[in-house]
């Protein structure tokens, strides 16, 4: 009977081999899949309970993990949560993470590859692994100033150091408190999540970088840059008479102080017929090319996410004329309009915007540091200087006079975009200053003022002024 017993032994061996192979396959082939399943509470809890590093604004932690006595051990907490929510994002158990909490999750929790050595040493010495510190470029004072100046108006403020691209201010209103979502009281977290999503004011939306709006007259800076690039100058006389849109009965008119005015004058008074006519003459391709040099069509700030600004495709002459004055389907993020001012102030060079200055490990060694980099050249240095003077005119004696700051050269451009007769117009103001070297864009979604007023100058310009002053 030994022969069949050997057969049985082989069968048993095959069975145990199958068990071992299957188990190895589970490890090699399935582990990552299983660990990434959203239902996996072990992974979710372990991630959620990590002692994550802080997110810093200057010397203040705007997001940090505090030890608590519950099953997660650490509670993520946000000082001034609403003010920094679009940047920090939230860190929740049920609704994942967003913004820097999401994009720097590996570094904050100390599991990024770049921290491998630290982790190894910590592991060997028995020390609890600690996450890295993420240092933002934001300026606490300017951030606060923008928030206070916005004073409950729905909108956004972005300020960029135009020599580097570092974001100094990034405010979106209305905002939400990330503490409500990060709480370990999961019922409260669920309740907050439902409430925030149901809120018609959309507090979870990041209006500064992730939403696009008609830029209105602020887009005339782009049209002006294209005009300068086509060989015109600030002193070139343009036709400011009422402009009948080609192929349409609609006439664009406006009080521009004469029918023959200089380009500089046209910008100063934000002359619609002149810029519409210019746009039609330059053509859609030239305008689009100019817009794209400023950054339209590109997404910036991967770490908090941004929408790409749009200059419409396949448009006829009338649509081109409307687009040239920032209407029709032209749409931009406040970040993008700040970048337009920044490029003009920076001699035509667009710096790639960034919001994380450096990442330090738990021993304060630099894990990574952002080096300022050039994104594109939007216009020549000479044209940039001409446009700078034109923008200074706007502030000194034009629509943007409310942004004047004694002792500081400020250039700006106002904008008011009435997208629909049923609702209040958007108010815009984009500006730059020479000291500090900063470009600011203020956007107000819901400007409740008489339509005769230039909303951008009245509402947005003072906010830009407050931010620039805070940065001095």
């Amino acid at each position: 009977m030994n022969r069949p017993i050997r057969g049985v032994a082989v069968t048993a061996m095959v069975m145990f081999t199958a068990l071992l192979v299957n188990l190895s396959y589970l490890y090699v082939g399935q582990q990552d899949y299983l660990n990434e399943r959203p239902e996996n509470r072990r992974v979710a809890d372990a991630r959620f309970g990590q002692d994550r590093g802080p997110i810093m604004v200057g010397n203040t932690a705007v997001a940090q993990s505090k030890p608590v006595k519950d099953r997660f051990k650490f509670q993520r907490s946000y000082a001034q949560g609403k003010l920094y929510a679009p940047v920090t994002g939230f860190y929740s158990y049920l609704y994942r993470t967003s913004a820097l909490e999401a994009s720097y999750s590996a570094e904050l929790s100390g599991v990024d590859d770049s921290q491998f050595l630290t982790r190894l040493i910590n592991g060997l010495s028995g020390a609890t692994p600690r996450g890295a510190t993420v240092e933002t470029t934001l300026d606490a004072k300017a951030q606060k100033a923008a928030w206070d100046a916005l004073d409950g108006l729905k909108g956004a403020v972005v300020a960029i150091d135009y020599t580097t691209g570092a974001i100094k201010t990034l405010v979106s209103y209305p905002s939400y408190d990330p503490n409500d979502l990060a709480t370990h009281d999961l019922a409260a977290s669920t309740e907050a999540w439902k409430r925030l999503n149901a809120d018609p004011a959309r507090p979870l939306a990041n209006r500064a970088t992730r939403e696009i709006y008609s830029p209105g007259s602020t887009f005339k800076l782009v049209t002006a840059a294209a005009a300068l690039d086509s060989g015109m100058s600030a002193d070139t006389v343009v036709d400011a008479s009422p402009f009948k849109l080609p192929g349409s009965t609609k006439v664009i008119a406006g009080g521009c102080g004469g029918t023959k005015i200089t380009l500089a004058q046209a910008l100063k008074v934000s002359c619609n017929p002149a810029f519409a006519r210019l746009g039609a003459e330059l053509g859609a391709d030239a305008l689009r090319e100019q817009a794209e040099k400023f950054g339209f069509g590109t997404k910036f700030l991967d770490d908090i996410g941004s929408a790409a600004s749009v200059f419409p495709e396949d448009i006829d002459a009338a649509q081109t004329a409307m687009s040239a004055i920032g209407e029709y389907e032209t749409a931009a993020t406040p970040l993008q309009m700040a970048m337009v001012s920044a490029a003009i102030a920076n001699g035509g060079t667009v710096m790639d915007p960034y919001i994380v200055n450096q990442v330090l490990d738990s021993d304060l060694k630099v894990v990574s540091r952002t080096r300022p980099s050039q994104q594109s050249v939007a216009l020549s240095d000479q044209n940039a200087q001409e446009l700078q003077s034109m923008m200074v005119e706007v502030v000194q004696s034009g629509t943007g006079f409310r942004a004047q700051i004694p002792g500081v050269t400020v250039g700006g451009k106002t904008g008011t975009a009435r997208t629909s007769p049923d609702r209040n117009p958007y108010a815009w103001f984009t500006a730059w200053a020479d000291d500090p070297s900063v470009a600011v864009c203020v956007f107000i979604e819901d400007a409740e003022i008489p339509s005769t007023e230039i909303a951008g100058g009245r509402l947005a310009a003072p906010i830009a002024k407050a931010v620039i002053e805070a940065l001095r």
Binding site: P4, I5, Q31, L34, E39, R42
Partner: protein, 509 residues
């Protein structure tokens, strides 16, 4: 003379490995507390003392009664039992309030090892079990079908393989596998020649005679009944696999194995086609994420093993309590989580080694009943481990079988320890030196001759057996002081020397 060899007793090796196994288990227990509380539990000397005395007791019994028993089996089983205890204790700590099922399990371990000890002491010749073939067959079948009875039978997690008597629940299949192994072995020893007679040929396979198909059909139907009414593939596979394998070994005809496999596969397929619950089991095996809530347990077991990774989270540092029934069905997943793929593989290898030692004894056994019984017990053990560990790791559809020696539950522990006792008794007789010349010759004949009456075989076995009947007990005191085996006592010194010589010649098989 290939079967006639002198094995060394290796009781010292057994003692050393037993101590090692107990230290591993206690080490796990201490690590759980160090990892969780940073201090040793105050009662740890008790735990060590109880486990060590159980191990020592068994070891001394083996030394006394079965000095030639396989030295590996006892330490391997003790290790599994100890790891199981440690893990159950760890799972106790993971609940609020802390539970105390490990203490109960330790008590059951004591009872189970005592039952094993009784087997060692009183069943020195397992061949007496051959006398109760039909009683055992009937008893086994009744046990197997018991859960189908109303009132006492109860459905748990979709399978009806438990019976409940008051507060006490019991999986009768545990005992049935033991009883039926014995019944099949003795039945087949009687009938193997008849069953081996060729019937017709079909597709090149030699079929047995139709009238001999009766028993296999009975077993097939019983297995199908288990599959369909008890809704458990593992139990069904366990008994049908056991029967087919023993038929194959007894008759040496592969046609039985092929026929049996075909019958089982087609039966299982029919079950799949006609019964919704079988389909549910299969779908939760192949595609567990299609219904997360329904397959919560198997998915969480998988999550646990994946979370443990290669080396596990460490004792007490994982979250095995997230998996339902972690102490019973899913204790392997808990091991995988805290000791890693490495630890779980080691446990699988330990099971594999026990099976290998059992089959080794079967190969070496000198008479057919011992051969069949050892092979049957080893294989049914292998199938059980395969079915439950395969179910937990999603190699197979999940079954409700217990994980031998590890999962919580007294009846399973007792049944498996008794089985190990039986295996030890067989290995002892296999490994004992055979000293008399004529008997081995007779046994070699028995291997090849077609028709030998079973009664004669048993009698011859008694004669050939190295264990002298009553005189052996009288000779026992000598064992303690002399290195010479008690079997040698009534035999002349010259015979003893001849055994030694075979050993020196390197005669091992």
């Amino acid at each position: 003379m290939s079967d006639v060899v002198g094995y060394r007793r290796r009781r010292g090796v057994e003692a050393f490995m037993l101590a090692f196994a107990i230290l591993l288990a206690i080490g796990g227990y201490l690590l759980i507390h160090l990892n969780r509380d940073g201090e040793l539990p105050p009662e740890w000397p008790w735990a060590l003392g109880i486990l060590a005395s159980l191990g020592l007791g068994l070891h001394l019994l083996v030394r006394w009664r079965l000095p030639y028993a396989d030295p590996l089996i006892l330490p391997l089983v003790m290790l599994l039992n100890g790891l199981g205890l440690a893990m159950i204790h760890r799972l106790d700590l993971g609940t609020t309030p802390v539970m105390h099922s490990a203490e109960l399990q330790l008590m059951w371990t004591a009872i189970a090892t005592a039952a094993c000890g009784l087997v060692l002491v009183f069943l020195r010749d397992y061949r007496i079990l051959q006398r109760y073939t039909y009683t055992m067959f009937l008893g086994g079948m009744v046990l197997l079908m018991l859960p189908l009875l109303p009132v006492i039978g109860q459905e748990k997690n979709g399978a009806r393989i438990w019976i409940h008597l008051g507060t006490y629940s019991f999986q009768p299949a545990e005992l049935a596998k033991l009883v039926l192994s014995i019944a099949f072995a003795s039945y087949l020893v009687e009938k193997r020649e008849v069953l081996a007679l060729a019937g017709g040929r079909f597709l090149g396979i030699e079929l047995p005679r139709p009238r001999d198909l009766g028993p296999i059909l009975v077993m097939w139907l019983a297995s199908l009944a288990v599959l369909v009414f008890q809704k458990d593939l593992g139990t069904s596979l366990l008994f049908f696999g056991l029967f087919v394998m023993m038929l194959f070994v007894a008759t040496e005809k592969p046609s039985w194995a092929i026929l049996g496999t075909l019958l089982f596969v087609s039966g299982a397929y029919l079950g799949y086609l006609f019964f919704g619950h079988v389909q549910v089991r299969v779908s939760s095996w192949l595609n567990p994420f299609s219904d997360y809530d329904q397959n919560y347990q198997v998915i969480n077991g998988q999550f646990g093993i994946a979370w443990g990774g290669a080396f596990g989270t460490g004792w007490g540092l994982g979250r095995p309590n997230l998996t339902p029934l972690a102490k019973t069905d899913f204790i392997a997943a808990a091991i995988g989580e805290e000791l890693g793929i490495t630890g779980l593989s080691a446990v699988m290898l330990i099971y594999g080694l026990i099976v290998a030692r059992g089959l080794r004894a079967s190969l070496g056994a000198r008479e057919p009943f011992g051969k069949l019984l050892a092979a049957g017990l080893s294989f049914v053990f292998a199938i059980q481990v395969f079915a439950i560990l395969g179910g937990v790791t999603r190699l197979l559809p999940l079954t409700g079988l217990t994980t031998p020696f590890m999962s919580q539950g007294g009846s399973s522990l007792v049944a498996n320890w008794v089985m190990i006792g039986l295996l030890l008794v067989i290995t002892h007789q296999v490994r004992s030196p055979v000293v008399a010349a004529p008997e081995p010759v007779q046994w070699l004949e028995a291997e090849t001759t077609q028709m030998i009456p079973v009664g004669a075989g048993a009698a011859a076995a008694d004669g050939a057996g190295p264990r002298p009947r009553p005189s052996g007990d009288v000779a026992l005191p000598a064992t303690a002081v002399s290195p010479v085996s008690p079997a040698a006592t009534p035999v002349s010194p010259a015979d003893d020397e001849s055994t030694q010589r075979v050993e020196r010649d390197g005669g091992t098989a």
